[in-house]
């Protein structure tokens, strides 16, 4: 580890790994620091990723793919199952990853490309000069050192502390944090090729419960509920245990993880002088699905590309780095986040009866394009009255 780099990346998840790898591929020097002793662990993720989303970055590899999905299901509050399949029945639509291996692979690729990596290393403070971020103070096994950089890319996940230390308020509103818990369960009866989502105020208030297959008889069984709905006796843990005891009483739990997922709008501004925020730290999680892997990789790569351009021009000001902020907001990802935020805001306000009615309208759906938006378009097609409910939002869905 040197004491000066072009780019310093805080955090070794998918956002940080893509940022570090892209930076060195652009000819820059880069250091990635991860506060945990191991990349990828503990997992804080349901591990689902669409086929097209992965294809934007890499070829699938059996070493980090736990299961291949050909469909999905949505279970209404009353138990009715809506089945979703690709119009090409049996064709692959997505994957359940093994994040411990996947994340490590991404950081490995960054290392192989030339990035320096330091684990068990925590950024404990920014180095600021007249409000400009110039690097970070790092702590490793009691040793404190200063590393300076032209740009710091904050990829420190849901906690998003680094940006906060630099004066950016990253606080997630209580109603917009998903309080989550997940078991990796085995010896359970599941459809091994379909992700199942359970909705309802009794099951998962303002969130959902999921069963994402990890093998023929194994799955990630998890839940996210709104922080607003969480409290003593009715936490994510309580809802998940109730579901598991009822649905998989003989299943065996081989892993238990917890986590928070933001479902707010992205931060108003995701750059500062000498600073770029990516992934969960920038709050670019899809607010409807809670999915963040693709958005993290997308923003991580984009941040490094913009950083490279700005370093070449010798201008690392917030104004120059705004090219990154503008670019992701105008991207398909940025537009999807805004649209899905509005859809989420609509859905969380619906009582169970309404959700039942919507889900009962279609027992089986064949989607040409297997995505959230095609599902929503199809639901609207069979429930035209929803267009009135959705109001202004309807325009962005057509």
């Amino acid at each position: 580890m040197k004491n000066k780099y072009d780019v310093l990346v805080i955090g070794g998840g998918p956002a940080g790994a893509l940022a570090a790898r892209t930076a060195v591929e652009k000819g820059l020097s880069a250091l990635l620091v991860e506060k945990r002793p191991a990349i990828g662990a503990p997992v804080r993720c349901a591990e689902g990723l669409g086929k097209e989303a992965l294809a934007d970055f890499m070829e699938p590899d059996e070493r980090w793919i736990s299961a291949e999905m050909t469909g999905a299901g949505i279970v209404a509050p009353d138990g009715f199952l809506m089945k979703l399949e690709s119009a090409m029945v049996g064709s692959k639509v997505g994957y359940i990853l093994d994040r411990k291996v996947f994340d490590r692979e991404l950081v490995w690729q960054a290392a192989d490309a030339g990035a320096d990596i330091s684990v068990k290393t925590r950024a404990s403070a920014p180095i600021l000069e007249d409000g400009v971020v110039k690097g970070a103070q790092l702590e490793y096994c009691g040793q404190v050192s200063n590393v300076t950089a032209d740009v710091v890319i904050a990829a420190d996940g849901v906690e998003s502390k680094f940006a906060r230390w630099c004066g950016i308020d990253t606080t997630v509103p209580v109603r917009e944090i998903m309080s989550g818990m997940q078991y990796v369960m085995t010896d359970i009866d599941i459809d091994p090729h379909a992700t199942i989502f359970y909705l309802g105020n009794e099951v998962a208030p303002e969130g959902y419960l999921w069963v994402f297959p990890k093998g023929d008889r194994a799955a990630n069984v998890g839940i996210g509920i709104s922080g607003k709905k969480s409290g003593e006796g009715h936490r994510a843990k309580d809802y998940l245990n109730r579901f598991v005891n009822k649905t998989f009483p003989k299943g065996k739990t081989i892993e238990c993880i917890v986590g928070g997922v933001s479902v707010c709008r992205p931060l108003e501004c995701t750059v500062g002088d000498g600073l770029v925020l990516v992934g969960d730290a920038a709050r670019v999680v899809d607010p409807l699905t809670g999915g963040g892997i693709y958005n993290s990789m997308f923003t991580g790569r984009l941040a490094a590309n913009v950083a490279a351009e700005c370093i070449a021009k010798g201008d690392l000001s917030k104004k120059a780095l705004m090219a990154y902020d503008k670019s992701w907001r105008e991207s398909k990802m940025g537009k999807t986040i805004e649209r899905n935020y509005l859809i989420k805001e609509y859905l969380i306000k619906q009582p169970d009866e309404k959700l039942n009615a919507i889900i009962h309208s279609v027992a089986k759906m064949n989607l040409k394009e297997f995505s959230t938006i095609s599902l929503i378009k199809e639901i609207i097609r069979v429930n035209p009255k929803l267009l009135v409910d959705l109001g202004a939002l309807a325009a962005s869905i057509r």
């Binding site: 503990p42 849901v158 906690e159 230390w165 606080t171 997630v172 209580v174 969480s230 843990k237 917890v258």
Partner: protein, 58 residues
């Protein structure tokens, strides 16, 4: 004051993201509470496991 039940905490950082004061910090496998904690209890509410509790001093 805020009490962290270390035997319950899952070190996930959910609480850190909602703290309006920035008083919580997840340092690998332990959660630290800074002096500026106001005992507002937001973190205790959202914790998936119930590892945080506001203790009212006598």
């Amino acid at each position: 004051m805020l009490n962290v039940r270390r035997d319950i905490c899952g070190y996930c950082g959910c609480c850190v993201s909602v703290c309006p004061e920035g008083a919580l910090e997840l340092i690998d496998a332990y959660l630290s509470v800074e002096q500026n904690c106001t005992s507002c209890g937001i973190c205790a509410k959202v914790c998936p496991l119930g590892a945080l509790e506001v203790v009212h001093e006598k």
